[in-house]
Amino acid sequence: MALLDIKGLKTHFTTDDGILQAVDGVDISINRGETLCVVGESGCGKTVTAMSILKLIAMPPGKIVAGEIIFEGRDLVPLSSSELDDIRAKEIGFIFQEPMTSLNPVLTIGEQIAESLRRHEAVTKKQALERTIEMLKLVQIPNAAGRVHHYPHQFSGGMRQRVMIAMALACRPKLVIADEPTTALDVTIQAQILDLLQDMKERFGMAVMLITHAMGVVAETAQRVVVMYAGKVVEEAPVDELFGNPRHPYTQGLIRSIPRIDLDAEHKTRLEAIGGSVPILINPTPGCRFAPRCKHAMSICAEREPRLREIAPGHRIACHLGDAQ
């Protein structure tokens, strides 16, 4: 049985212009100890999907209108906020995108890491401090025993992201959702943070849901990949299959838009981009949402919405193109 099973999740937002269907029928499942990457460009619903799991979206205007989020056999959607508080950080940890602003400037980092320990586990102040220092050592903060009393402004961006990881993992959650954890960092630090996440994952045997728009990160870390577009899953496959045999035109476009150092030098090719941008999801048109930007669009694409279907073991796509082939 999967650790987390999201079925037909729909999260909509009420805006002045109408209902914004940010997430519109998403199915994602994550197995124990697995790394799942969710990719897609900005505004395609990755973050909203992740935040919906722990109901971290602002409600109102946001609302989960349909679907189930089954974590260890228990549906999280009907739970009250205080029931969810027991799951947050304890069972499912969350790592945010912006390490510069996700730490409270007036509390020491030690106080902030200890907060979740004291909230979820019966530990004394002293034990919490010891565990906090231990966590800081695990995320490779030098001089952890001294740094634990420091304030966020005394840390660099990469160090703060390590602190965020320590905060999210302090209670040893079974699942960690990392929402673009490396986007705000420079490239060398990105690699360190990804290595650290991988290391933590192996040490604690937890599952990771990694949200990103960098295909390089996906290739490096994922076992399975879910590609999202305009609030829907368009392709899902094991990582090798996805990069070796991408079937959805959107996925193909994403992969072609990765700069290739080996090809570019010889052939002087131009980097390919996907024309246009993600549609605004208020009253979306019927049919495939990618059709207006799709090179292979057919007449049926504008009429009927493609269903997600399995084309090979573990490889599912939502595209009419496969039908024709």
Partner: protein
């Protein structure tokens, strides 16, 4: 693990460089504020310790020696009944400063509570509380103050004694009519802070709404509140003086700075020293407190480079 950072661990201070220490460092750069803080501290020390050093009673009368200018026996001179003005100033300063501080606490408490509720509410409660704030702001304050004191003076006097009753009444009335700017400030702060990522992060860690507010949002909103609070102390001292000057504050035999000024007003031509000392004390206290507020504003505003 090694080689990740070049910073030598031994160079790190053992304790964190807390925001409050940083504030103190910045505050020290504001010279008038530092001088004001020292002045205010001296003033407080004088009124607290004064009676133990200057042992003349406030009610010792010597009509023959009435309305004398400053002398060695009476450094601040005497009033028309020959009472020692220094002794009365020391006693009055206790009341005036206590009223200022207590009224500030009332207004900051009420203002923070209402502002926080309004700032956290996403529904009609927030609007209702802001309407209430606007309503209070539009009330004519002085007539209302006078009316409230007339209405409740006798009842409170009966319960808490003449001085205690009036003290509670004046503090509540002054504080209760000055919380609106604090409420607006706190609401504005909360509206912006509640959407901050670190509050979201606290939520993701399972912090309850109360905990999010008390531990994460409120400490971040305190800077402007502290500044507003200092200004409120000065305003409350002036308000108390106004009330006493109108004869509505403490009973006539209880000296406060405002009351002494009121008593002195009929003798301005023959005994100007009588009015000068309490007036000067109010002036120094209010200016000092305002400078302290100024210094705190510079020190707590992180965007300003000092």
């Amino acid at each position: 693990m090694a080689g990740l950072t070049l910073a030598s661990p031994s160079a790190e201070p053992r304790r964190g460089y807390s925001p409050w220490r940083e504030t103190w460092r910045r505050y020290r750069r504001h010279k008038p504020a530092v001088v004001s803080a020292v002045l205010l501290l001296l003033l407080i020390l004088a009124v607290v310790l004064g009676p133990f050093v200057w042992r003349i009673s406030i009610s010792d009368m010597d009509v023959v020696a009435g309305l004398q200018g400053p002398s060695l026996a009476h450094p601040f001179g005497t009033d028309d009944l020959g009472q020692d003005i220094l002794a009365r100033m020391i006693y009055g300063g206790r009341i005036s400063l206590a009223v200022g501080l207590a009224a500030m606490l009332v207004s900051v408490f009420v203002g923070t509570l209402i502002g926080a509720l309004a700032g956290m509410s996403r529904g009609p409660l927030g609007y209702a509380l802001m309407w209430l704030t606007d309503l209070f702001l539009s009330l004519p304050q002085l007539p209302l103050l006078l009316m409230l004191i007339y209405l409740f003076r006798d009842g409170l006097k009966a319960v808490f004694g003449p001085e205690g009753g009036i003290f509670i009444l004046i503090v509540l009335v002054i504080g209760g009519l000055r919380w609106m700017p604090v409420a607006r400030l706190v609401r504005a702060q909360f509206l912006s802070l509640r959407e901050k990522e670190f509050v979201e992060a606290a939520r993701a860690l399972g912090a309850s709404p109360t905990r999010q507010v008390v531990r994460h949002i409120l400490p971040n909103a305190l800077g402007p509140v502290i500044i507003a609070g200092t200004i409120d102390v000065a305003a409350a001292i002036i308000a108390e003086s106004t009330l006493s000057f109108l004869g509505l504050g403490f009973p006539p035999d209880t000296p406060t700075w405002g009351r002494i000024l009121y008593d002195a007003k009929d003798f301005l031509d023959i005994g100007p020293h009588w009015a000068l000392f309490p007036g000067g004390a109010i002036f120094i206290a209010v200016v000092a407190i305002n400078f302290i507020g100024d210094g705190l504003r510079d020190a707590l505003d992180a965007r300003k480079v000092i």
